[in-house]
Amino acid sequence: MTFLRMTACVALVAICGCHARDTRPLIAIIVPAEDNPYFKAEADAAAARAAQLGYRTRVDVHGDDAYRQDNLVDAAIASDAKALILDNAGTDASISAVRRASRAGIAVFLMDRQINARGIAKAQIVSDNDQGARLVAGEFDRAMHATYPGKSSYAELIGRESDTNAQVRTTGFHAVLDKDPALTLAAAQSANWSQSEAFSKTETILQAHSDIRGIIAGNDTMALGAVAAVKSAGLHGIVIVGFDGSPDAIAAIKSGEMDATSLQPAVLISRMAVDEADVFLRRGFTGKPEIQIIPCDLVTRLNAGQFINFEKRQ
């Protein structure tokens, strides 16, 4: 056992000692998760663009935990990062971390999610969740009427209810759908952005409300869970829409299992954030307003071929 312990110690020292010195300036990238295709695409695109522009990068994950984000920001300060590209862990909970980073001389660029404070971050580049939600809800409404003339009812799968984007999206959905007297909301449940939770909750909802003809979900992962549940129930012709534009959802749209999704231009946004960070580090200003809102794209069967990994093909 002593031998095992010693070997482990030696291995650890060897790993730590292997880091070569790299003198390029550091850009720290912090995203919520890497097991989600959206955040993964966002992190990869930011890291790739930063490397291309001659920066050293480090990608960390805060897992939507503001405390962990705080520690990661401290680590970025300690490792003398020049810029921080951050998809933050909460509109209010992240303000102090962003402020601390900018006081320490790090230029902070927020992507994907805003914070409830102005003038601390150099830029806040986000996709328009409200516009995207209205866009996909409009398509949902159209598809419901095209498939089921007359009155019909639908279910909604909401994201994690403590998450601002979940709130903005459901509000956007209802801004459109509540105006249509032919549509009735039969059930609304949170599935916490999760596919397996969406699967089991949709199965149960379909049992309680056999008249459901459509499902609108706050993200694509939940929409795909609903697709699996509808399939397992042996139902056909249920209109399902999601949000995000993940590659799996686009594949499901191509095969007709899903109707539509709202694609957030994640790759474009994270490249913009890195580009503006680069301009700022070289010139001291970005030349852009702090808040930049980028519209979402509607993806349906007609145009699904134009999109790939959160990006419109050029």
Binding site: M1, A33, E34, D35, N36, P37, K40, I158, E161, A187, A188, Q189, S190, N192, S194, Q195, S196, F199, S200, K201, E203, T204, I205, Q207, A208, S210, T221, L224, G225, A228, S232, D248, A251
Partner: protein, 348 residues
């Protein structure tokens, strides 16, 4: 103690022992009244399928808890098993795709490996079970993420040309109109009940949880028994991960997050003591039913997620409070003979 007091106390004790069943019946009645489609055959079949996920985990973990341990790694093992099978079915090893059967066996073998690691950490390295399995929780989750670099493995339905079809049968097929996962749950529970009641292994598990020192002195090979309990728990967890991946036709590395808590809650609801030595496998199944009925029923009735969490928490806390109450009454009635439903006591 006079006779009438003793009789009323033992009636109370019986009711307390049956509390999980009583709660389950009460929940079913309430939800049947609130939602007309709750008691339909279709919904019961789906409900049973949802219960099977928690039940297989809980039954698998019961031996670990009975022997005085805990297994926090089951959720991560479920995620890892799904990813191993998903990777072998869709990406393959060196581009060579595996069939459904081979992938399932490989995923279960990987789960078993994590179980062996848990068992060795606890028995050979003297790490407390809570810490050892907390460590493997992170290791298995990290490994699941590494397998795909965080991506999902989609399209597990496979293609006939690739020879990888059949995997979806595990979670989606029916036998005698009952979903296959429910059969798996019943078979595993039945086997575990038999092992607990009729084999030396089962008695050893109770003995170790009741008094480890006495068990050691009685000549029980404690280390071996403990390693087996962790292996069994891990393989059950792996099976759950495979069922979920098969149902969703995709494997996601975050699958199974916080499943361990549901499983522990089910075991505790079923009357198994976290201190070990006291409890039953059947209780864990009932506990899993309570959690499953609660989750599905609240969704059917349309209660919000926030209230669902509060209600689930209240039920768990109440169950454990009642458990303490029962223990107190039982100690007052030590003179009374043990009733038939009692679990085997520590062997001398």
């Amino acid at each position: 103690m006079n006779d009438t007091r003793s009789i009323s106390a033992s009636t109370l004790l019986l009711l307390l022992k049956l509390r999980a069943v009583l709660v389950l019946v009460a929940l079913i009645i309430v939800f049947a009244l609130l939602s007309p489609s709750f008691l339909t055959a279709n919904n019961l079949s789906i409900l049973a399928k949802h219960v099977s996920i928690t039940a297989i985990l809980a039954v698998g973990m019961t031996f670990v808890i009975l022997s005085g341990g805990i297994d926090l790694s089951v959720g991560s093992i479920a995620g890892l098993a799904g990813m191993v099978a998903g990777g072998m079915l869709t990406v393959g090893i060196h581009g060579h795709l595996s069939g459904a059967f081979v992938s399932i066996c490989a995923a279960l073998a990987v789960s078993l490996l994590v179980g062996v690691l848990n068992g060795l950490l606890v028995t050979q390295f003297g790490v407390a079970p809570f810490i050892a399995t907390l460590g493997t929780l992170y290791i298995a989750r990290g490994a699941a993420l590494l397998l795909s670099q965080g991506r999902t493995f989609p399209d597990l339905a496979g293609t006939p040309e690739g020879g990888s079809t059949g995997f979806t049968a595990l979670g989606q097929s029916f036998f005698l109109h009952v979903p296959l996962p429910v059969w798996l749950m019943l078979v595993i529970t039945a086997a575990t009940v038999l092992i607990a009641a009729r084999t030396p292994f089962g008695r050893h598990v109770y003995a170790i949880g009741g008094n480890e020192r006495a068990a050691r002195l009685a000549g029980i090979r404690i280390d071996r028994v403990k390693v087996w309990t962790y292996c069994f728990s891990a393989v059950c967890a792996g099976l759950v991960g495979l069922i979920i991946a098969s149902q969703l036709e995709s494997a996601h590395p975050a699958t199974g997050e916080s499943f361990e808590l549901n499983a522990i809650a089910a075991v505790v609801l079923g009357g198994t003591s976290l201190m070990g030595g006291r409890g039953s496998v059947g209780g864990s199944l009932i506990g899993a039913c309570v959690i499953g009925v609660l989750a599905d029923g609240l969704v059917m009735v349309g209660v919000s997620e926030f209230w669902q969490m509060v209600i689930k928490g209240v039920v768990i806390v109440l169950a454990v409070t009642v458990d303490q109450f029962q223990a107190r009454i039982q100690s007052r009635l030590t003179a009374a003979p043990l009733s038939r439903g009692d679990t085997p006591r520590v062997l001398a």
